[in-house]
């Protein structure tokens, strides 16, 4: 066989292997992002399930906060709608977080409620879910960053262009989230 032909074949093989591995790594990264996004959904659902319990546990004590409670119930039923796109979902869930924080602050005015075992337990479950949601968000951002790097960096960006992969948005942590931490401290001190 001709030497040039061998060289061409070897080069072609190398190029092919490179293309395959870039392709696979892009798919892998995209799937990781989807996978973690799905987990966030599961966790949000876990939080939706806790809200009615919370409302029923606090409503007989919190006479002055009925408005907040109605609002959170309403937000929950809106957020559970399966037809929402992800932006709307994020927005609604941010509002739910805000409302939940409102309740946490308000609880301070009801010592009886604060001492209620059922409520303490529920509060623990909600805190746990919130911490898990925040963890999932951070995991999501880490995988999205990894994915975006591949989509934008040479040479995988060429492949990503052909495959139609686009840069994905990170979860922004807004002002209310940052306050969230302080409220927790306040609540537990």
């Amino acid at each position: 066989m001709d030497t040039t032909l061998i060289i061409i074949l070897v080069v072609a093989a190398i190029v092919l292997i490179t293309i395959i591995s870039i392709y696979n790594s892009l798919i892998n990264k995209r799937n990781q992002v989807d996978n973690i996004f799905a987990t966030i959904d599961v966790l949000l659902k876990k939080r939706y399930d806790l809200i009615p319990n919370l409302v029923s546990a606090v409503q007989e004590y919190m006479k002055h906060e009925q408005g907040t409670l109605t609002k959170i119930t309403e937000l929950r039923s809106r957020a559970m709608d399966t037809n929402l796109n992800s932006d709307e979902k994020v927005a609604l869930n941010n509002q739910i977080s805000q409302a939940l924080n409102g309740i946490k602050v308000a609880v301070e005015n009801y010592p009886e409620l604060k001492a209620n075992q059922n409520f303490i337990h529920l509060q623990g479950s909600i805190n746990e879910v919130e911490e898990q949601i925040s963890a999932a968000r951070r995991a999501f951002n880490a995988t999205v960053t990894d994915y975006n790097n591949s989509v934008q960096m040479f040479p995988s960006n060429i492949m990503a262009g052909i495959m139609g992969f686009k840069v994905k948005q990170l979860f922004q942590i807004d002002e209310t989230e940052r306050k969230n931490v302080d409220v927790k401290k306040l609540f537990n001190s």
Binding site: H121, G124, N127, E128, E131, A135, R138, A139
Partner: protein, 332 residues
């Protein structure tokens, strides 16, 4: 947590008598030990001399089996005697150390917290060390002492000194034991529920290799997947592996990353952490033995006491430093 000033007052008052007693005891023990050591030295010289004499005798009285048997038997008896004396002096030493720990170290530990239970000769069992998953390889030698357990507020804790060795082939094809971890091994309840396994190791690579470190770190598959965290200071000190990307972030919240970084910088030693089965395992690497009394030389100088204090304070402060008593995530 008790301050160093409080500790000094404690040493000068409550502990003072016992320290003096132990000091007197030490002088007696030292005299005995010196005597036994001299005896051993003399015996060794004796045995060498005797061997020379025997050799001479055997040469002179050739083929006399009686003399040969007598010399061999007396040699054996002599060796037995040396071993006995050597063992006896070791026993004296160990007894002194045990007593010292039972009186001094135990009081110091109770000074920190009355609820803590101290057992000088006990240590964290091997299966619990293994469960931490921090050193997933064959271990050839494992021992320890100074076991402490108790409950600080809501958190159950236990820790001890341990030493962990593996056999390695040295250059001349001989097997030598190499210590891969030595120091304090600490186990406590963690304040969150989790199922997976998350390992936090000291990041030696990042300090030397910088950005390339990530590539090599991702190759260490025996620990699970590499977890890249967003806290830059934390990432400088540690590398994290886990079998669950989300759960590892649930455990390593922004606040706990900050707390671990601060703890690491306070300790100034390599620390190994793992989160397995709702527990935190934490190893602080120290050189040499801990909480041992000096037999030759001043028993407990101010410096020695300060070291005892620092090591215990650091270990017991883990609960507060990591805020393990904060139980707001559904775990009682």
């Amino acid at each position: 947590m008790k301050t160093y000033e409080e500790f000094k007052t404690f040493c000068n008052t409550s502990l003072n008598n016992e320290l003096n007693n132990q000091s007197d005891l030490r002088s007696k023990v030292v005299k005995k030990l010196i005597f036994f050591r001299a005896l051993i030295t003399l015996q060794v010289i004796g045995i060498l001399a005797l061997m020379g004499v025997f050799e001479l005798l055997i040469n002179i009285i050739e083929d006399n089996w009686f003399y040969t048997v007598v010399s061999v038997i007396s040699l054996i008896l002599y060796v037995v005697l040396i071993v006995f004396v050597y063992k006896h002096q070791r026993k004296i030493r160990n007894e002194f150390t045990y007593n010292f720990k039972l009186r001094i170290i135990k009081s110091i530990i109770e000074f920190f917290d009355k609820s803590l239970n101290y057992q000088p000769n006990n240590y964290i069992p091997f299966d619990q060390f293994e469960k931490s998953g921090l050193f997933p390889r064959r271990i050839d030698k494992y021992y320890g002492d100074d076991y402490v357990e108790g409950k600080l507020d809501k958190t159950n804790i236990k820790f001890s000194e341990i030493h962990v060795f593996v056999e390695e082939n040295s250059s001349d094809n001989k097997k030598t034991l190499v210590e891969i971890f030595g120091g304090i091994f600490f186990i406590a309840d963690f304040n969150k529920n989790f199922n997976g396994k998350t390992i936090v190791l000291p990041d030696k690579a990042e300090r030397t290799l910088g950005k390339f470190a990530n590539f090599f770190q991702s190759l260490m598959k025996q620990y699970g997947e590499l977890v890249k965290l967003e806290d830059i200071e934390f990432e400088k000190e540690f590398m994290v592996y886990s079998n669950d990307q989300i759960e590892s972030r649930f455990i390593l919240s922004t606040s706990i990353m900050d707390r671990l970084t601060n703890f690491k910088r306070k300790v100034k030693k390599d620390i190994y952490i793992s989160f397995v089965d709702n527990h935190i395992y934490l190893g602080i690497h120290y050189k040499g033995r801990l909480f041992e009394p000096k037999i030759f030389g001043k028993l407990v100088s101010e410096e020695t006491l300060r070291v005892y204090y620092e090591q215990l304070e650091l270990t017991l402060s883990i609960v507060d430093e990591l805020n393990l008593n904060l139980r707001i995530w559904g775990k009682e």
